[in-house]
Symmetry: C2
Subunit: 379 residues, 2 copies
């Protein structure tokens, strides 16, 4: 079935909204953070662990799975869920962002038909088109597919962005025309940088194509400021339909989740919690900390006493530090569990704050804890 979004409540003082997303694999509360499973696994973790941390949708990467193991192998396995032993909903991105960020030497040739670029693995010539992206996603059999879009850098000129936005809309239509998986929903992506008129144009034209949900893209590509990210959301949201989910792509900083929710966003994804885990970093209420720091050598308390994750219930900072210092991968695994659960707990808090109409107080308190008394979320 296609996903269905039910709007339950809009917070009194902001655009923040509580909703329910009905999927092929159960009903989930929004706002929601989606952990990233690039290569058909959320790095180091099993699906059971994701369930234990009350994760909902996970994201997997079309570009990566196209290269390895290839969409035909995933299809032969019975689709991505069966291949990776995951019976929760999966969203696949389109590959557009990876073409932008991973193409060998970042060189690519964008033409109307699609994008020529070289594999980040072996330099092999590749050509990805809006149709091919959708066809691959159809075969992967994810629950939600994304339209193929161009992701220009923050430094792109207005003129460049205008042409790019127009092409992305033509690409979205071409992708929609070939989309043929009846159990898969398809999202359109709003682009346009930090330009109000481009975002408005992109949103209106994309919505005309009637997708099952809408993403706001181009806010976490390369060098976008926080200010530009918030602008991009503010300029896009008014033109998105109330009864479809809204997804801010590639965003996972705790404060950006709060700012996004307040502006009306329902879904987020980011590699941040697992990536920083591999470097020894943990989210806490009082900001990020690096567990490798010598000061945790004999700190036998958990990362966060109030956290209900498997890691915090069972392990000390001292032990996790020991694992990290010794390059034992269990260390990164334990930190990944905590960091993902941290963001999911944050969305649980935000849902409660929406119910209680006090999300602005919640933000104030969160920022004060996380960044200090004079913390500025724009930094």
């Amino acid at each position: 079935m296609k996903i269905k979004y039910d709007l339950l409540k809009v917070e009194k003082n902001t655009k923040a909204r509580r909703g329910k997303l009905s999927t092929n694999y159960g009903i989930y509360d929004t706002p929601m953070f989606m952990p990233v499973g690039t290569l058909a696994n959320v790095k180091t973790l099993t699906p059971e662990e994701l369930k234990e941390m009350r994760s909902g949708i996970i994201l997997s990467n079309t570009y990566h799975l196209w290269l390895r193991p290839g969409e035909d192998i995933v299809a032969s396995a019975g689709g991505l869920h069966k291949f990776m032993h995951y019976d929760g909903p999966i969203l696949t991105d389109s590959g557009g962002f990876q073409v932008f960020s991973l193409a060998k030497n970042k060189k690519k040739d964008i033409i109307e038909e699609g994008v020529h670029f070289k594999s980040h693995l072996d330099g092999k010539k590749l050509f990805l088109t809006p149709e091919l992206s959708i066809q691959i996603q159809n075969k992967l059999d994810s629950d939600i597919a994304m339209s193929f879009d161009e992701c220009p850098p923050a430094s792109a000129s207005y003129e460049y962005l205008k042409n790019s936005v127009e092409r992305t809309i033509r690409w979205a239509k071409r992708g929609k025309d070939v989309h043929s998986n009846p159990n898969q929903s398809l999202f359109g992506i709003v682009q346009g940088g930090a330009h109000e008129d481009l975002r408005k144009f992109s949103a209106i034209e994309t919505v005309k194509l009637d997708f099952d949900g809408y993403s706001i893209g181009g806010v976490a590509n390369d060098g976008e400021s926080k200010e530009d990210m918030y602008k991009a959301i503010d300029y896009s949201i008014p033109y998105l339909p109330e009864h479809k989910p809204r997804y801010l792509m590639g965003v996972g900083e705790p404060i950006d989740l709060i700012e996004g929710v307040i502006r009306g966003v329902d879904l987020f994804d980011c590699v941040l919690p697992t990536r920083i885990a591999r470097h020894g970093n943990a989210f806490t209420k009082f900001g990020k900390i690096n567990i490798r720091n010598a000061k945790y050598k004999e700190d036998f308390s958990p990362i966060e006493k109030s956290c209900d994750c498997y890691t915090c219930k069972n392990y000390s900072k001292s032990y996790i530090r020991h694992l990290l210092v010794c390059d034992e991968s269990l260390g990164g695994r334990l930190l990944s569990i905590h960091n993902i659960r941290f963001l999911i707990r944050l969305t649980e808090d935000l849902r409660r704050a929406i119910e209680e109409d006090n999300i602005l107080d919640y933000r104030k308190q969160f920022i004060e804890n996380y960044m200090g008394k004079n913390g500025n979320p724009l930094n």
Copy 2:
């Protein structure tokens, strides 16, 4: 409390025996395979996963924990169990084998007092003595400590081995004299290469010191043949008391477990199941296979259909291969789970074969499956 070994049954046609080992953390069946948790974790796995695969005792390495994080930190954490969140029994080795195998450039200076050598991490000068090894293990608070022994290479001369065995007995006594943890059992180690008289002498003299259990060492150091390993067991076992556990150190090849059990061994440990997992290898009834092999690309069956491990119940060879090829650590984790469970299942089979007095038939069938019709366990 000290461990207690109850002999339940000796198999009709061999020396194989079923027993029960009562420990500070529950009662376990023997013969038993002990997974290795070098740095206070069985690589990539949690204690809960070890329990799910019905693992009993695990082994941790005194030398490694002495260097990182240091025994005082482990003691401050409340001991090794609390430090690593493991409420099953733990055996620590003495560091003797690591001094032999890991000392920088394998250079060491063995004197009566102990061994001078350099750290494998940073070349720092270290001096380990029988007393220090026991004192470190006392602080780690493992359930079973090992006496500090010398582990000479297979190539050592008879004369060298004779002196070494005598010194190891003196070291065992010195260690026992300083052992002061009332909840920790202490094992003596029989050495003597493949020489019948040295093994006999070592066993008799070590048993005179009255340990809580006995190990057979020096069978998996460096270049020992299978034949020498089996000889070492055969020459040692007759002199070990019936009502104490017998532990063959560093052995984990499936066929060696069978041969050891048939000769009267109760306990085994080895890094093999986790080490080969990291290189993509899996144990199967029909021999080891490398899951990275291209022929598994579209093999959607589990590693072993008859295996009850988490990995075989939920994942295909194709998926695990994909993870390994992409260097996703979940691949090694899934293989570690299967490989450890494989060896634990093997000990379960062996216990059943002892009950049913048909262990020789079991061996014959196992070798035929594992090595082919003309398989020779000595190869």
